[in-house]
Amino acid sequence: MAKKTATDDLLAPVTLAVGQEDLLLDRAVAEVVAAARAADADTDVRDLAPEALQPGTLAELVSPSLFAERKVIVVRNSQDLSADTIKDVKAYLGAPAEEITLVLLHAGGAKGKGLLDAARKAGAREVACPKMTKPADRLAFVREEFRTAGRSATPEACQSLVDAIGSDLRELASACSQLAADVDGTIDDAVVARYYTGRAEATGFEVADLAVTGRAVEALERLRWALAVGQPLPGITFALASGVRSIGKLATAPRGARPADLARELGMPPWKIDRVRQQMRGWSGDGVAAALRAVAEADAAVKGAAADPAYALEKAVVTIARAARSRG
């Protein structure tokens, strides 16, 4: 397949970068530009927003110049191109000009899909730039960053870096390069802790998971982080309520029922059932009642019934953690 052979060649006539992660899109562009400059130092780079590419502009740009210089044309947000311009681009895809590298950045998705398909069909080199939503992906990204920089980093160091910086890939990348530049030797937990401390992201669900297993201290700490990073308060009470609720539901469900049946009856995904089973040791019926009432009070408090919603949330978390040890 043409696509396969073209994949490795950075100077393929057409490069397609698909996804919404800005950092990766920029890197894809930078790679192509660097390769082009390496081949010819006088390469002309045109970086165009979709509005800048009017019908006819492309033909003008790709027409041979007097000095036959190399050119890289970058079209950003190509899904937003007007219909007429897309026609131009498609026509060009059929007959790409020599010495010219076209880089199309596309968000993926349904908008402007015709252009995407046409480019793929024409054998464009494709770079995937998806948004990283899973924590594991971000961890892998950090590891890869250190590896590219030729540095070794311990897994704990990578984890605490992700914890401290959060989900912005650009910030993660710059933190990695900063660490690689500033520190000699292996990058470990202590090094990361010297430069980055704290926690950039804490969700209500993390608070709830800690609270319902009775770990009051950790839950309170996580709650403080969640408040500090500006988590919406009703979201936290919602998470607490659903944590306690699922324990109440599962605790009174018939024993020995198959997980799939239970999942359907209780309205929870099957993987969650096992986790809630783990959490539910130590809970008693009265504990669930007390905890739920505390959460309801906190919910009223965060919606304006109390002067200090943070205190109300802390109180609810402590009540839940205490209830989680109410049996035996």
């Binding site: 009703p234 309520a241 109440g248 959460v295």
Partner: protein, 404 residues
Amino acid sequence: MPVWDDLVGQGPVVESLTAAARDADAFVTAVASGEAPSSATSKMTHAWLFTGPPGSGRATAARAFAAALQCVSPDRALGGVPGCGFCDGCHTTLVGTHADVEVVATDQLSIGVKDTRDLVRRSSLSPAGGRWQVIVLQDADRLTEGAGNVLLKAVEEPAPRTVWLLCAPSVEDVLPTIRSRCRLLTLRTPPVDAVADVLVRRDGIEPELAAVVARATQGHIDRARRLATDERARARRAAVLRLPLQLGDIGGCLKAAQTLVDSATEDAKQVAEEVDAKETEELRAALGAASGAGRRMPRGTAGVMKELADRQKRRSTRTQRDTLDLALTDLAGFYRDVLAVQLGTAAPVANAEVRDAIDRIAASGRPEQTLRRIEAILACREALDGNVAPLLAVEAMTMALRAG
């Protein structure tokens, strides 16, 4: 049939309203015939506040008074009381088509400043029929604080022929500054027999059924009629009254709460389906879009569509809350019966159809517990009013009901 007939068991209120309507009529007649009206002893005034428990007929009273003000019956000249119920003025007011009677009710959570400003502007118009410009504000308790302040001036000194009729459950529900500008009329809960009587007389409901629903709703006329005529309302109420027996364990409590909230959501969805789709389609048509969902809208109309969607969403919240509130009222009534049985009072049991459940719960607990349970239900209503997540609030309540 005089306009006052729909008001059940409100003798003193009807008396003072009739007197006011008579003086108002004398005023209009005097002005029309070019005489100087004698206003010194008039019982009429320009702003009235109707209060009374839900179901006592605040809106009905206000509407009847509005009709009496617009009454053009020839009997008046012969000393008849205004409010005949037959003349043009009475009839059009009662069916809601009178040009000079504006009834303001909202299907949303509150009445905002914007709507109120508009209302104030309209209130200063002269009556088209030459009698009175009457504005009936049915949900004065839903005025936001800002909206209440907008009304102040208009209520204090309206145009010469403008009359404001505000309705609210209690005087605490409106701003003190509004309260002090109105003449207060307090309606009482109509006696059960009177409600049953009016159901039979006016709505043609079987006497036995009328007696049952009148007792079950404890003097709330509209609910009694709804219960007597709507199969679904009866089913929902029956489901709510089964709830106290389902609170054996935590799982039962959670499930009962879920069911209660789900049925309220379902109800809101049903209302939404009936009204929203039609409303949206009408607006689309008005904006000039091709018919059929998903067609492209003309440029610049997205904002209007969004506004409509927001309004529909607020209405849906209100419906859900109202339904839940109704269910909680029924539940409170159930525990009221339990308490009556526990204390051995002579008060008749309202929910006779679940007598055995009442007896069972009464025997298994003490009056203190029942009182705490009623407190929990009231606390839940308050929490819902404070915008607590409905499921969470109801769950906390069922937990409290279980604990007693």
